[in-house]
Symmetry: C2
Subunit: 134 residues, 2 copies
Amino acid sequence: MATQPLTRNQILVLDALTGAEGPLSAYTILDKLRDHGFRAPLQVYRALDKLRELGLVHRLESLNAFVACTQPHDHHTDHGVTAFAICEDCGQVDEMHDAGIEERLSVLAGVRHFKTEKTTIEIRGHCQNCSAAE
Amino acid sequence: MATQPLTRNQILVLDALTGAEGPLSAYTILDKLRDHGFRAPLQVYRALDKLRELGLVHRLESLNAFVACTQPHDHHTDHGVTAFAICEDCGQVDEMHDAGIEERLSVLAGVRHFKTEKTTIEIRGHCQNCSAAE
DNA sequence: TGCCACACGTTATAGCATTACGCAATTGAT
DNA sequence: ATCAATTGCGTAATGCTATAACGTGTGGCA
């Protein structure tokens, strides 16, 4: 159960995401990493796949983009459903967890005998800073 | 406040979605409508935009695909947040509404002074039928 | 009549993701 | 030691999703 170390490519992609203000598309990451030898989209997608498996990176479906996980969790444990608040002005993403929502979702699924594999919750809107500055 | 009639293109796209078993991609719709004179993606996307404005069609972000709204609601009123249960086996989509979830989401946003514009909730998994037939 | 708004049609292009191929390094069992 | 299986890597080509930028036609209305 030793946690395998990240490969060079995976570290580069993760660093790019961690250093960014907001979510990045795969092709934006590719451009940022050309100087480090990246030449093809697949290099990015492969690293992203692994990082997502490890819970270090999330994909934002409504944006076709990726963010580094910002929660202080132990990444080797499942930490339930994540909801994202995405600011349409500044691009900032806030990662949220809420037991109440999980509970309701679990009920909704249960009533229908639906086996949940993965849940996506994304809230688009305007963060406090950006809605203040109108 | 008379509700404008749909155009020919909009009706064709809506019918395609209504007649389908599950969600359709824009390009799948395009192919289905070639016999009716459709030749370019934009014809589909423009109709979809309008239908979504009217609340007759939903976009599934995690699938890059579209479904006809199945709820018996009055479409001219906002009917809050919709959650989708999407079966990965048969493709069927179940549209759900839940006041409890809306409440929790509203609290999460409120605490952060985040102004919500649009909320996406999509649950991927296996429906009753498909998980029975294992 | 002139203006405006809107739907439409066409071409081209941009943006996102995967398939398919082959090579190299690692691991682990025989 | 060697073989097989696995895993990551690199490259090229392709496919899927969505929009930009044109121009046309029509209906309402001052």
